[in-house]
């Protein structure tokens, strides 16, 4: 339980930061919140590490068919990384309080940081690989948001997008790799439920190694790791991510998130270290990345960019270390103390980024070519920076030295089948390390020594608040270097000796005496210093070559040019700037597809009973046609709207004649809501309509006619076929008469009360369907019960559509009209009012047209006090009787909206201010919670999602009311309908 709390706390903190009333709280609040939650996480973690007898683990089955379980554990690496993430998070939150501008949207910043921390902890404590993938994607998303923190800057947006595209594509590869693993396990006859647990993956590694597609799976999994950890050829996204605020860079892109790929390599190592590809794929990639990162670091002017490239290089080192783990003398596997390297890098790189932020803070530039002599003005920063860089370069007495030594030992003891790899990889690694020494000297020497180069820069030292966090990390670096034998044991205990081998060959100490390694170290420092001296020339040559970013141009060619160009081409060729043409094409394609499907499936026209078509239906349809002609042809938009009213009424009448009172009610209410919304919109449009464009030339009109008639006939045939169709194609329903019969018979009472009864009657298929809806109104029972999930989807779509309207109108700020434009529009409307249209005599209207009454009509406003409350009562009645008789949540929602819309129309804004101020959109989530909650409540009782329960409740005044759990669902529908309708009406009326 504590473990679960530990995982959920950061998310809870993020959520809390989002829902707290931020206007009323101080700006420092979010930081204290973040520190508090992180501190609580640290305490929990300490308790779990030192206070508990055995390491906690949580397991819950989730989707056993695909191998997904919610299982988390705290094995060695998980524990180590959890400490790393939470500990550094605490320091970073302390640092960012002094670094970030307090007004710079702190709520969003800390909420996202906490969210990231939670996701990262999730990645490392997941025992299930698929669960890890979910958290993995969450870290990509939070990284995207954090890189784009200053989203006003185009470069920040581009960097964020690039990072997201690269890491998310890699994430998809990872997912594909995991799917391949499940597939292999299934084909080997393993039960998929548990195969993706890490320990099971290791235990079954022969299965995955022996499979013919083993290489494909390995490459896919490695692509996930390489994109996340910015390995060649994806290394370009990391420098771009430096647009993020410095605390983000230090936390995500130096200390933790980019380590996720390394972490994954550590998890994959026990599975794949026997694979022949492992060495050259992982080791080779790592070494190449080291070289590219090191070289690029020499070519950067910005210290932060330099650090980013150096991070790429160091991540390459870590990757190479895992690659070198396999293939040694005698085939012995050795990967000792990999966590030591990770820890060492996280400590000095996190600190260096924060110190870089201090320089930025004190000098307002990070360009080392403009800085100089900071040793005197920023002495504390200088000392810390120097120790950090010493650790990065591997100077003895620092933690980095131990790490570097381990790495060199590993690369020198490499023994592959091919001599090229045995000698080539270590040689490249040593070559890359020359750059490390050089750029470390660059960071320490160039800005801090010499004379100030730019007189406009007035550097000042950072305060204690800014320096505290990096100082702690640097102190840890030093202490760990000096007392490394103490650290060795616990770190070794965290690694899995069974798979990683013992580390007896590798004793760590801060000095070993004069041996081969010392010679290499001396060589590295001497030649590295030479490279540093030649650094100016390297930079110049690089810039003369046009500052190429290796492989970024390939990315840009694909994502910034090719794909947008393709999208633009597609849009140009399929979409034109005319709604009617686009609709016509869409409809043509849709009808064509439906007809093709009907022909290919051997669809036979159902027998239509022409004798029983009531004459009154035909008559009503003819009357409708008269109005339809007007709707299609009249020049004045308002007249078209008016002509639609009788059509709605005729349709209502048709519904009633064919015994569908629910549909009739819905039709009546939808007509009202639609008329109001269209009128609100019409004021923004020209009152007279242009003749429509002719997409198909001369035949446009007849094409439209043919299309409309075909579409209408097609829909009629399809719905007739749907009502009359039997279940003959669905084996489980064999023996049922028709679809509609089934609904009618099962909506009130189940035909078979128990599964046994259904089987006894010869309908085993009905066994799972012995639940009934408990309502007389078949339409409503279908909506809320049989097809409840459909309805849930529909109300969600309704809500989203409403929010879309809201966004469109909020974004189109420039659409707000000037008073002159408003007056002109009003005049336009008045002109429609004043004139007899189409050639008739222009005569003054005898009554209200000419007058602008000072207040709404007295009759109107008095009536509006009585009418809407009555309508609301009617809405409640419709809602309550919905399950048994015509009515229900949707209809009641429309009725309530109509009532409130009447109030909107009848009173002036100042009279009903609270009604205008109410945030109708807040009803949407509440309604959706009701709808989804009903479904989940059924799941809690062991029933399928949205299964219905019903019973009778006596309400003394109203008589007996049947209460079904579907009613709560209906309440959700009601709220969403009311929220959406009024949200749109209120927003449209605001202009």
């Amino acid at each position: 339980m504590l473990f679960l709390l530990f995982l959920l706390l950061p998310f809870a903190g993020a959520l809390l930061s989002l829902v707290l009333p931020r206007e009323r709280l101080p700006l420092s609040m979010p930081r204290w919140l973040a520190l508090g939650f992180t501190g609580a996480c640290l305490l929990l973690l300490a308790w779990m590490t030192f206070g508990m007898a055995e390491r906690p683990a949580v397991f819950a089955s989730w989707m056993p068919q695909v191998g997904l379980n919610f299982s988390i554990w705290l094995d060695g690496p998980a524990l180590f990384f959890a400490w790393l993430v939470v500990g550094i998070a605490f320091l970073i939150f302390h640092y960012s309080g002094h670094y970030m501008d307090p007004n710079d949207s702190p709520w969003r910043f800390y909420a996202t940081m906490l969210f990231f921390m939670g996701s990262m902890v999730g990645v490392v404590v997941s025992k299930n690989a698929l669960l890890m993938f979910m958290f993995w994607e969450l870290t990509s998303i939070s990284s995207f948001i954090l890189i784009g923190h200053w989203h006003e800057k185009a470069s920040a947006r581009a960097g964020a997008l690039r990072a997201l595209i690269v890491t998310a594509s890699g994430g998809l590869c990872l997912l594909a790799g995991l799917a391949a693993l499940v597939w292999m396990a299934k084909s080997a006859g393993l039960d998929p439920a548990m195969v993706l647990e890490w320990d099971q993956l290791w235990a079954n590694r022969e299965v995955y190694l022996a499979h013919p597609a083993a290489g494909v799976a390995l490459v896919l999994l490695l692509l996930g790791a390489f994109t996340k950890s910015a390995q060649f050829p994806f290394q370009f996204w990391l420098p771009g991510a430096m647009e993020a605020p410095t605390p983000v860079s230090a936390f995500l892109h130096a200390a933790t998130m980019v380590k996720a790929g390394i972490y994954l390599l550590g998890r994959l190592y026990p599975m794949y270290s026997d694979a022949g590809m492992w060495l050259w794929l992982v080791g080779g990639t790592g070494v190449i990345t080291m070289c590219i990162g090191g070289f690029m670091a020499m070519c950067a002017r910005d210290i932060k960019q330099l650090l980013a490239h150096s991070t790429v290089s160091q991540l390459g080192l870590l990757t190479a270390y895992y690659g070198f783990g396999a293939h040694r003398v005698g085939g012995e596997h050795l990967l000792p103390l990999d966590l030591l390297l990770v820890l060492s890098h996280a400590l000095f790189k996190g600190a260096l980024f924060m110190l870089c932020g201090v320089i930025d803070h004190g000098c307002h530039t990070r360009d080392w070519t403009r800085l100089g002599g900071l040793r005197r003005t920023m002495p504390r920063t200088f000392v810390l920076m120097a120790i950090g860089c010493a650790s990065m370069a591997g100077v003895p007495l620092t933690f980095g030295f131990v790490a570097k030594e381990l790495f060199l030992k590993a690369s020198l003891s490499l023994h592959a089948e091919s001599a090229l790899l045995t000698w080539g990889l270590p040689a490249l690694a040593i070559f890359a390390s020359l750059f490390t020494v050089a750029y470390c000297l660059r960071i320490v020497v160039s800005p801090f020594f010499g004379a100030p180069r730019d007189p406009e820069i007035h550097p000042h030292e950072g305060g204690i608040g800014l320096l505290a966090a990096p100082a702690i990390m640097i102190a840890l670096c030093l202490a760990a270097g000096l007392y490394v034998p103490i650290l060795e044991k616990p770190l070794a205990a965290l690694t899995n000796a069974e798979f990683y081998g013992t580390h007896s060959h590798f004793t760590v100490a801060f000095f070993h005496g004069a041996d081969k390694l010392l010679a290499i170290a001396v060589f590295l420092f001497a030649v590295g210093a030479g490279v540093f001296l030649a650094g100016g020339r390297i930079l110049k040559a690089y810039e003369n070559a046009g500052s190429p970013m290796i492989f970024r141009s390939a990315y840009e060619a694909l994502f910034d040019r090719a794909i947008p160009a393709f999208a633009a081409w597609l849009a140009r060729t399929t979409q034109v700037a005319s709604l009617s043409t686009n609709l016509m094409r869409t409809l043509l394609a849709a009808f064509g597809l439906v007809i093709a499907a009907m022909i290919s499936s051997g669809f036979a026209l159902p027998n239509i009973d022409f004798e029983h078509i009531p004459l009154v239906g035909v008559a009503l349809s003819l009357l409708m046609t008269a109005c339809l002609w007007l709707v299609a042809t009249h020049r004045i938009a308002l007249v078209r709207l008016i002509a639609m009213a009788p059509i709605g009424l005729f349709v209502t009448l048709l519904f009633l004649i064919f015994k569908a009172p629910d549909l009739a009610l819905t039709q009546i209410l939808v007509e009202v809501a639609m008329l109001i919304v269209l009128l609100l919109l019409l004021f923004h449009l020209p009152q007279r309509l242009m003749p429509p464009p002719r997409p198909f030339g001369r035949f446009g009109k007849s094409m439209r006619l043919i299309l409309s008639v075909t579409g209408g006939l097609l829909m009629a045939v399809l719905s007739h076929a749907g009502f009359a169709s039997t279940f003959k194609n669905i084996p489980t329903f064999q023996g049922e008469p028709t679809v509609s019969e089934y609904y009618i018979q099962n909506s009130k009472h189940a035909r078979y009360e128990t599964a046994a009864e259904a089987e006894a009657a010869g309908y085993p298929a009905f066994a799972p369907y012995h639940h009934s809806g408990g309502g007389n109104n078949v339409v409503n029972v279908i909506l809320v019960d049989f097809r409840g999930i459909d309805t849930m989807g529909e109300v969600t779509v309704l809500g989203i559509a409403g929010l879309g309207v809201l966004c469109l109108f909020t974004l189109k700020r420039k659409h707000v009209r000037t008073p002159e434009q408003k007056a002109a529009a009003l005049l336009d409307v008045m002109r429609v009012n004043e004139r007899y249209d189409e050639g008739a005599v222009v005569a003054p209207m005898p009554f209200f047209a000419r007058r602008m009454w000072p207040s709404p009509s007295l009759i109107m406003s008095e009536m509006a006090r009585v009418g809407p409350p009555l309508m609301l009562v009617f809405a409640v009645v419709l809602f309550l009787k919905g399950h048994g008789e015509p009515g229900g949540g949707f209809i009641a929602g429309l009725m309530a909206s109509a009532a409130l819309a009447t109030v909107f129309i009848s009173f002036r804004r100042s009279q009903i201010m609270p009604m205008h101020d109410f945030k109708y959109r807040s009803l949407l989530p509440i309604g959706l919670v009701f709808a989804v909650g009903t479904g989940l409540a059924a799941v809690l009782f062991g029933q399928p999602f949205l299964a219905s329960v019903h019973g009778y409740v006596g309400l003394s005044a109203l008589g007996k009311v049947e209460l079904a759990s579907a009613m709560v669902f209906d309440l959700g529908v009601f709220l969403v309908v009311v929220g959406t309708t009024l949200m749109i009406i209120e927003r449209l009326g605001r202009d």
């Binding site: 008016i642 008329l675 047209a849 129309i905």
Partner: protein, 92 residues
């Protein structure tokens, strides 16, 4: 069926349908926008009557909700159109 003896339903229906046709002519021909609006409003009334008489003739009561709903909300469209013409907008 016995609620309305033989000639009455026929008389009522004929009369209402005649009214409907005339009103539809007004909606289609105009000539003024207000003519159309008032004709459309009257059509609502005629339809309500039609539903009522139909219900009595057939001897059912399930038209009742629709009649109630139509009489409660049927006027909203008319006042909305009127306000739009008068003020050039619905909400002020």
């Amino acid at each position: 069926m016995d609620l309305l003896p033989f000639p009455f339903p026929h008389i009522f229906f004929t009369g209402l349908l005649l009214a409907l046709t005339l009103l539809l002519y007004r909606v289609v021909r105009g000539p003024h926008v207000l003519d159309r609006i008032m004709a459309a409003d009257s059509i609502t009334l005629v339809i309500i009557c039609l539903m009522g008489i139909w219900q009595v003739t057939v001897g059912t009561s399930f038209f009742f909700d629709a009649i109630l709903a139509l009489s409660v909300v049927g006027f909203i469209g008319t006042i909305a159109l009127a306000k739009y013409l008068e003020r050039g907008g619905l909400i002020h």
